[in-house]
């Protein structure tokens, strides 16, 4: 089974298309498969645009409550390099990172599980020329497009509220998309192992502490050193710092490492997901 499944995976070095015109035609016809799934989702959300739009509001509500509300009481906190910044400026990029994670996780876990087990969407699609790895790429691609739209909206609001002081902030949007990529891919890979809705408690169990403790709401320096080391290993912390450094205009070389870490997680999740979908659906 596994060898058969891996043969259905997409154009990596392992599966070279047959030479000649037929092979080229076939690739041209089917390699856009992941785009077709994105097209399908775009169409489906036309019937649920309110659900789509609601994704913009969640981080905004947090920003209003924590940044502008709680921020009045807190005053200044140490930002990048220990420089003191107003709390609302500190927390805003953190909220962008968190909402990128949450949005990606929601799309790639609940929605994917529903399509996999109940809507039988993937069974229908795999009867067409589309291959399992293209499904994985399409799902994750969709999560990223959605995430990018939300990130642009949030960044514009930050700008409007005067929370942005550096042109580097433009890179916060691709940064947020990268966070989304890591979590969408890992989340979807995990979803392929889930048996029932109860298993989603694990998703909450994993994302809730990340959400609360990844130096999103306060600086890492409040923790004792051993705890700091653990938190520095988590992807959301790396994402939070990435966005905070960009938005507050203090990018350093560490930025590249953080980006590479998130990208590597995403790629690993993508590969696992393609294989798992083949194993689950092509039996």
């Amino acid at each position: 089974m596994s060898s058969a499944a891996s043969r259905m995976l997409p154009p990596t070095g392992r599966m070279l298309p047959p030479a000649g015109r037929l092979g080229r035609l076939r690739r041209a016809g089917t390699d856009a498969g992941s785009l077709r799934l994105i097209e399908r989702h775009a169409r489906a959300y036309r019937h649920a645009w309110l659900v789509f739009a609601s994704g913009v509001f969640e981080p905004l509500l947090y920003l209003l409550s924590l940044g502008l509300g709680l921020g009045v009481l807190i005053g200044k906190v140490p930002g990048p390099g220990g420089r003191l910044v107003p709390y609302r400026e500190f927390v805003a990029p953190g909220l962008l990172a968190v909402s990128s994670m949450n949005g990606a996780m929601y799309d790639s876990t609940f929605n994917v599980f529903f399509r996999l087990k109940y809507a039988k969407l993937y069974d229908a699609i795999l009867a067409t020329p589309i291959r399992p790895a293209q499904l994985a790429l399409g799902e994750i691609g969709w999560a990223l497009i959605r995430g990018a739209i939300y990130a642009v909206a949030f960044t514009l609001v930050m700008l409007a509220l005067g929370l942005v002081h550096s042109p580097w902030a433009v890179l916060a949007v691709p940064g947020a998309v990268l966070i989304g990529f890591a979590f969408a891919a890992v989340g979807m890979a995990g979803t392929t192992y889930m048996k029932s809705w109860q298993d989603f408690d694990y998703v909450i169990l994993a994302s809730m502490p990340l959400f609360l403790f990844s130096a999103t709401f306060y600086p890492l320096s409040v923790y004792p050193r051993p705890l700091q080391v653990i938190i520095e290993c988590t992807p959301l912390y790396q994402g939070v710092v990435l966005l905070r450094d960009l938005v507050l205009g203090a990018p350093g070389p560490g930025l590249l490492w953080r980006a590479a870490y998130l990208a590597a997680l995403g790629l690993a999740g993508l590969l696992v997901t393609g294989r798992r979908l083949a194993r689950l659906l092509l039996v």
């Binding site: 089974m1 058969a4 499944a5 043969r7 259905m8 076939r26 016809g29 089917t30 856009a32 498969g33 077709r36 097209e39 399908r40 169409r43 489906a44 019937h47 649920a48 809507a119 039988k120 969407l121 069974d123 229908a124 699609i125 795999l126 009867a127 067409t128 020329p129 589309i130 291959r131 659906l281 092509l282 039996v283």
Partner: protein, 306 residues
């Protein structure tokens, strides 16, 4: 030849669903797999649909290898799965539009075909409706329309009318018959013998992953069944006793079912008179022609829908 299978086998861990079958399928024919649940029909269909790699044996579809060239083969197949897999988040029309896009067809082509296909399955007036509230019969018709969006060379139907009410079944049969008349090659599985008799040029009776018999419906009936069948129903208390008595009755064969006794004879009325002469008086009796159900009963000793 569109499909060629030799020693085709599908095993799931220690369960053998398809136990080495050979068949050839030719362009333009309607080929049926008749058998009870669990006979291996759906596993065979999934292998032909290139969504299930064979465990062993040879399988060539349109001259291609389903494992290596699955995507290219699927581009030329139409599939009506046993369970509806319509996209419930989309409307009737969108289901066809989106499905056509999965095949990489240009939107203009899809729009033209969608209009024609919705007419064909008589769903044009529901085009803008959501899918979920549609009845089972309408969903099936939409699934059939969807499977035709890529103008497939082979249409694979896995139990196309299971779960439909009689009226809805007849509409589906009518549409499939029209497709057959147009020259579309059909492969279908069914456990309804009337469906197989109506639609199939050639069929195999499948049981426990193997073929028990193969031929046209008429051939099979002629080969494995008598010209007429006398069905007798007795008072439940006398049922077994009557069965014992009729075992030695001069019929080709007798079958004692839970509720009826079947006598396979040349002349049903004559046989009924002879039964009455032995002193047995059935509550009801029916003389009918042999069907594929009788063939199946003869070949496997079991009824199809049990």
């Amino acid at each position: 030849m569109l499909v060629r299978a030799r020693g085709l086998t599908k095993r799931f861990e220690d369960f053998t669903a398809v136990a080495g079958i050979d068949f050839d399928l030719y362009r333009g024919e309607a080929f049926g797999f008749l058998g009870p649940n669990g006979a291996g029909k759906s596993s065979t269909m999934r292998m032909i649909g290139c969504v299930s790699p064979p465990t062993s044996g040879e399988l060539a579809i349109l001259g291609l290898d389903p494992v290596r060239d699955g995507s290219a083969i699927r581009a030329r197949l139409g599939v009506v799965p046993q369970e509806d897999t319509l996209d419930v988040e989309l409307t009737v029309r969108e289901n066809l539009l989106v499905y056509g896009r999965y095949f990489g067809l240009p939107r203009k082509v899809i729009r033209e075909r969608t209009a024609a296909l919705l007419d064909f399955v008589q769903l044009a007036d529901r085009a803008a409706d959501k899918v979920d509230p549609l009845s089972g019969g309408l969903k099936r018709r939409l699934t059939i329309a969807r499977s035709l969006i890529n103008e497939p060379e082979i249409l694979i139907l896995d139990e196309p009318t299971t779960g439909l009410d009689p009226q809805a079944r007849h509409v589906v049969w009518d549409r499939l018959f029209r497709l057959k008349q147009r020259g579309v090659t059909l492969i279908l599985t069914t456990h309804y013998m009337d469906e197989a008799e109506q639609l199939c040029d050639r069929l195999v009776v499948m049981d426990h992953g193997r073929f028990a018999a193969e031929g046209s419906p008429r051939d099979l009936i002629a080969r494995y069944c008598s010209p007429e069948v006398l069905e007798l129903r007795f008072d439940p208390e006398l049922h077994e006793q009557a069965g014992d008595k009729l075992k030695d009755f001069p019929a080709e064969r007798a079958e004692l079912l839970a509720d009826r006794i079947l006598l396979y004879v040349t002349d049903g009325d004559e046989a009924l008179a002879a039964v009455r002469e032995t002193g047995l008086e059935p509550l009801t009796s029916l003389v009918r022609r042999g069907t594929l159900e009788d063939v199946f009963l003869h070949l496997t000793g079991r009824r199809l829908e049990d």
